[in-house]
């Protein structure tokens, strides 16, 4: 689960952002809406533990990441936060399965190939396990990215504009897929987007002002 309080971020010599308090329980979804430049990416990086807030707290799975830094934060991020980017990148020298298992070995867990294959099966790309990621379509890549984000059963899954490039039909399908995976793994799901088509799908919404 995720809970933030009085979150602010000040870019050095630049703009200052204040964010509303967020609370998302396990197996719940939330939509973070807002136009460009309002601080969506900044909030995503704060929630993802990719940078520390200037003030305020971010509690994920009971741990306050606003107080963590360095190696401690790196490990926490790997274990408790799964991020799906708009542009999904992979390690080019590894195949689909190895890319997913890397998320486990990097936090020092035993790689669980059975679970990874199950996830890929569940996501409908069970036949692509040993392929090079570069041979996959955009849609397939996104599914691999989802599998990689949930493999460690994180408390929080963050998705950055997962649907903006898709048509209406696929937009809803991808959302359903994300929501389903988050529920299966018991994670909180936060979707950061400006895609208004999702408004009708997700009850819990916050629009950044």
């Amino acid at each position: 689960m995720l809970q933030t309080k009085d979150l602010t971020f000040q870019y050095p010599g630049g703009s200052r952002f204040s964010f509303p308090d967020l609370k998302v329980g396990a197996q719940e979804s939330m939509l973070l809406l807002g136009r460009s430049g309002i601080g969506k990416t900044t909030l995503l990086h704060l929630l993802g533990g990719l940078m520390n807030p200037t003030s305020g707290t971010i509690v994920i799975d009971g741990g306050d990441i606003s107080k963590k830094s360095g190696r401690e934060l790196d490990t926490f991020r790997g274990k408790h936060i799964g991020i799906i980017f708009q542009q999904n990148h992979f390690i080019a020298s590894l195949n689909v399965l190895e890319n997913i298992l890397l998320a486990q070995t990097l936090i020092g867990s035993q790689p669980d190939a059975g679970r990874a294959k199950n996830l890929l099966e569940r996501l409908g790309i069970g036949t692509k396990v040993y392929q090079n990621v570069s041979t996959l379509s955009q849609g397939e890549k996104q599914r691999v990215a989802i599998a990689r984000a949930v493999i460690n059963k994180p408390g929080l899954i963050l998705a950055d504009e997962p649907t903006s490039a898709l048509d209406d039909q696929n937009c809803i399908a991808v959302y359903k897929l994300l929501e389903e995976q988050a529920r299966e793994e018991g994670s909180a799901l936060v979707i950061v987007t400006h895609d208004t088509r999702l408004k009708s799908e997700v009850n819990h919404q916050i629009t950044l002002q």
């Binding site: 990086h45 990719l50 790196d74 490990t75 991020r77 990148h89 080019a92 020298s93 890397l102 990097l106």
Partner: protein, 429 residues
């Protein structure tokens, strides 16, 4: 840690051309240096093993280095022959300064192995011991070195016809007389292994007949003084026997002093060179001169090898640095998935070390295969055996130096990887 090893090697092999270029350069540098180490060490070893405590070589005037190479290492032709009457002082067992004087008479070979007319003292110089049969006693009896026995396939009791000169040539065969193998020596690791030993008179007999035959053939009437007065039978293989034939010739005398630091002994070479028709050469001095000559050549190659090593260092650096730029998203991604800055540093460092390790491995294979090819040539041409498949201590130093070079080349790229700005990199769309 393990996951970084695996990932680093996958990354290296993911760009095979880049890897190949870095490896070829690195392997060339390491290979050349290791080859020089191998070659120098073994040449030195061969030269030193065959110094055999010989203080002086006395022979015909000419190049002193040639005299040494011919009579001690058996890889060059004689400078000529000397008459026994000129050398009788040195063959005299009562000479106050000389402990051993071993006469050598060269001129014949069997399948490129030199036949040496000498006495039994030659064994003590090289630590030779009889393995089978007995030492030569009568004329035309030979005792052969271990390599000769192995390569020419000679056994006790076998007879063979020698040929004139130092290279195998059926046209020059002395077909009037046969040598007979009386004994085989144990291997010593010295030049003795490749020699066929007999008494001095056997060589005289061979060449007296040869000269007489040649003269008959060319229809000269005048007779050869040496051939006429020939009484070559030397019965007990001693220098006193030789002294009884003052008009005969030998090729050289290997001399061991009673005390090498004796003042008079130190003056002996100069006295011989100035006052006689013979020359005396000191093996240690000539071989050091030879090292100096080889040294200039190997030093040049060493500088070339160092240059290649520096170029390969730069190539590894560029290759890694370049891949940093291509892989910045991958690096940011590794951070997102929980890797620390130190982890990224380690990853790139291992990639650098990996290239160095593989380069070292290829270089070692290169140098040892090269040594084994050259060794075959050297064995064919000079009869010396070279070991290609040994690991010198210095080659292990080379291993650590290689790894150090790989680490140095990877340092800046690794530092850059560790400091990848994830927010900025992931913010770029």
């Amino acid at each position: 840690m393990m996951q970084f090893f695996k990932l680093a090697f996958k990354n290296l092999f993911h760009r095979p051309l880049n890897l190949a270029l870095s490896l070829i350069l690195f392997a060339l540098g390491v290979g050349l240096i290791s080859f020089l180490l191998l070659f120098n060490a073994q040449v030195k070893e061969k030269f030193e093993a065959n110094l055999a405590g010989i203080d002086l070589v006395i022979g015909a005037k000419g190049s002193p280095l040639q005299l040494i190479l011919c009579n001690m290492y058996h890889i060059d032709n004689p400078t000529g022959n000397i008459k026994i009457k000129d050398a009788k002082a040195f063959l005299n067992p009562r000479h106050p300064l000389i402990k051993k004087a071993v006469p050598l008479s060269l001129g014949d070979n069997y399948r490129s192995f030199r036949i040496v007319g000498t006495n039994h003292d030659i064994l003590s110089l090289y630590g030779g011991q009889i393995k089978e049969g007995s030492l030569w006693k009568k004329d035309l009896e030979v005792t052969i070195g271990a390599t000769v026995a192995r390569k020419a396939g000679l056994k006790i009791g076998d007879a063979f016809i020698s040929s004139h000169g130092f290279d195998e040539d059926p046209d020059l065969a002395h077909d009037h007389a046969k040598f007979k193998v009386s004994g085989i020596l144990k291997g010593t690791g010295t030049v003795l292994d490749q020699l066929i030993l007999t008494n001095t008179a056997s060589i005289w007999e061979m060449h007296a007949h040869a000269e007489a035959a040649a003269e008959d053939h060319e229809d000269h009437d005048h007779s050869h003084a040496a051939a006429d007065t020939l009484d070559p039978h030397v019965h007990d293989n001693s220098n006193l026997d030789l002294l009884a034939h003052p008009e005969e010739q030998i090729t050289s005398i290997l001399v061991q002093y009673k005390s090498a630091s004796n003042y008079q002994a130190l003056n002996m070479p100069r006295a011989i060179n100035e006052n006689t028709s013979m020359q005396a050469a000191s093996p240690a001095y000539e071989i050091n001169k030879l090292y100096d000559m080889i040294g200039t050549g190997t030093e040049t190659i060493r500088y070339i090898a160092l240059l290649i090593a520096v170029v390969s260092l730069i190539s590894i650096f560029i290759s890694l640095y370049q891949s940093m730029k291509q892989r910045k998203y991958e690096l940011a991604l590794l951070r997102v998935m929980g890797s620390s800055r130190a982890g990224l540093f380690l990853l790139i460092l291992i990639e650098g070390l990996g290239i160095a390790f593989l380069g070292w491995l290829c270089g070692m294979v290169l140098s040892h295969v090269g040594m084994s090819i050259l060794g075959n040539y050297l064995t064919e041409d000079f009869g010396y055996d070279f070991q290609a498949w040994v690991l010198l201590e210095e080659e292990w130093y080379l291993f650590f130096i290689s790894l150090a070079l790989g680490a140095v080349a990877a340092l800046v790229p690794a530092w850059k990887a560790a400091n990848t700005d994830i927010n900025q990199t992931l913010g770029e769309k």
